[in-house]
């Protein structure tokens, strides 16, 4: 999972340096699974012409059931066993940062915190961008550190620690007056308690064992993006492709295509499709026949699977100072689209997301 610290979009101070954004998001899964409501607010305040203070606050309210382990059902076919549907969690997270512009360089330093009943995290990130060749080329690099504590509902104060380090580099290059290309690379290293404290694995020869993952994880991801304006349809087309690999045996790839078009009355509409696929972790199995080793998991997110999703959005500038954005996404997770490894179709589900954001600029 990518640290929230990286990828903070640094908007250069313009005519309206004061910014206030608020958004509400509803996420739901098929079956009687998870529902999440997220409220987020962020603010940017200028300090002179060269600096900005940025602050973010997020609150998640999570409810519903989630898969705990798989058990053999009729005919030995693995079925998901869900936790009780009465789970209700609240997570609060926030971060504060300072951004500065120094000639053609912009840098942002952020410090964040996250707290819920059974999880706490503090993270720090530093990200810088530099423009070259009269802003035809932008190079960026970032680094982030995160220290987390993971416990569980039964023993909430008994924290296991884990750390994560992220590094990213990227380049954006203009190709001509209507297209650009972006390439980036991200490396992350995690160490500590990386297992899911609520998940179990079912062993055929008897018993349920806790989910247990290797203490180290190294991931490398590469993304390429191409954006171009097509005069024939008066629209912009965005194509993004990503590949990633890690030392757990999980390889993944995704391709996303988006179409965006401005409409009269300062509206912008967008629609897109995304395809994603991954292979299962080396230590993943839906069910274990014999006693598994130290590393074992039946977590549906570490299985081999793929997904197709559609995305749509509309945004409108209501007044010179206020704008609104709506986005929707529906993602169909399917075993059949897996890149490799194993999985079960009982893990297939779909998720839907709606988000509305209000933006104020002064």
């Amino acid at each position: 999972m990518t640290l929230p610290g990286i990828h903070a979009r640094a908007e250069a101070p313009g005519a309206n340096p004061w910014q206030l954004d608020a958004s509400h998001l509803e996420y739901s899964e098929s079956g009687s699974r998870m529902n999440v409501r997220v409220n987020q607010a962020s603010a940017v305040a200028p300090i002179g012409d060269a600096f900005q203070i940025r602050a973010n606050g997020i609150q998640d309210v999570i409810s519903g059931a989630s898969p705990q382990f798989n058990a053999p059902g009729p005919g030995g076919k693995p079925q998901q066993v869900l936790t009780g549907a009465s789970v209700r969690d609240r997570r609060n997270a926030g971060d504060i940062g300072i951004a500065g512009t120094f000639g053609e360089t912009q840098a942002t330093l952020r410090q964040g915190w996250s707290k819920e009943n059974d999880y706490k995290s503090t993270w720090t990130s530093l990200e810088a961008r530099h423009d070259l060749d009269r802003k035809n080329t932008t190079v960026a690099a970032g680094i982030a550190f995160s220290d987390d504590g993971v416990s569980n509902h039964d023993t909430p104060d008994d924290f296991h620690t884990r750390i994560k380090r992220d590094l990213f580099v990227g380049v954006t290059q203009l190709i001509d007056e209507r297209s650009l290309f972006e390439v980036s690379l991200e490396y992350s290293y995690s160490n500590g308690f990386l297992s899911d404290p609520y998940k179990l694995v079912f062993v055929q020869s008897g018993g349920l064992l806790p989910d247990s993952r290797p203490a180290h994880r190294r991931q490398l991801a590469a993304t390429a993006k191409y954006v171009t304006y097509v005069p024939a349809i008066d629209s912009a087309l965005h194509a993004t492709a990503s590949l990633s690999t890690d030392n757990w045996g999980i390889d993944s790839g995704s391709v996303e295509l988006q179409w965006k078009k401005e409409l009269p009355a300062e509206c912008l509409v967008s629609a897109g499709l995304r395809y994603y696929t991954q292979s299962s972790a080396d230590f993943y199995a839906p069910l274990f026949q014999d006693q598994p080793g130290d590393a074992r998991s039946s977590d549906y997110r570490l299985a081999g699977f793929g997904s197709v999703a559609w995305l749509a959005g509309v945004s409108k500038q209501l007044t010179p100072n206020f704008g609104v954005q709506l986005v929707a996404e529906r993602n169909y997770r399917r075993l059949g689209l897996k890149l490799g490894g194993t999985g079960i179709d009982a893990d297939d589900y779909l998720w839907t997301l709606y988000q509305v954001t209000l933006e104020a600029r002064f």
Binding site: G14, A15, H130, L132, D133, R134, T137, V171, Q173, I175
Partner: protein, 191 residues
């Protein structure tokens, strides 16, 4: 042809096609790697700066389409500003230039805003929301900004009464206002 030869020929053919495409793309495009390698902002070779004669500007006045003649302004101080409907800092620079016009017009300041928009319609859309008290021109072909070799958008050139550039500003920030006022006053004070 044996299966092995066919397979290797096919591979060679596809490799050759890929290679020639890659070569032409790489031929035409290597600016990113050069820029990153040198990490230097290469200065525009013929950028107009302080002390240079202000080049002629082949723009057309927005009102009547008549050619803009900078020579007509000889004897006055000219604040030549390059703007566009898509330039966000211009939303701040326009009210500022209106202020300059109010303050300094009768002391001899002539502000000329040259839009680099591709259509007059786009320029007028911006002006509907950010009106201007000063003279406006349009250069959709981009010959005027090319003559001045703008380093950024927006860009302004302060030209003295003799047609010599005295100050250049690339970009517009609130903190530029005081300095621009001072430079305008100084240029106007000269006879």
């Amino acid at each position: 042809m044996t299966a092995a030869t066919r397979a290797s020929t096919a591979t060679t053919a596809s490799t050759a096609t890929t290679a020639s495409t890659a070569a032409s793309v790489a031929d035409a495009c290597c600016r990113a790697l050069l820029a990153v390698a040198t990490l230097v902002l290469s200065p525009a070779a013929s950028a107009v700066g302080s002390g240079d004669r202000a080049p002629a500007c082949a723009a057309r006045l927005l009102d009547d389409g008549a050619p803009l003649q900078l020579d007509d302004f000889r004897g006055r101080v000219v604040y030549l500003d390059f703007w566009a409907s898509w330039c966000t800092p211009c939303r701040e620079s326009f009210p500022f230039m209106n202020e300059l016009d109010r303050e300094f017009r009768d002391r001899g300041l002539a502000i000329v805003g040259v839009s680099v928009d591709k259509t007059a319609e786009a320029a007028r859309d911006f002006l509907a929301r950010y009106p201007a008290r000063f003279a406006l021109a349009l250069d959709a072909a981009g010959t005027c900004p090319a003559a001045y070799q703008l380093a950024g958008m927006p860009s302004s050139y302060l030209v003295d009464r003799n047609g010599v550039v005295r100050a250049v500003h690339a970009g517009f920030r609130s903190s530029d206002k005081a300095e621009i006022r001072r430079q305008v006053s100084e240029a106007l004070a000269e006879r």
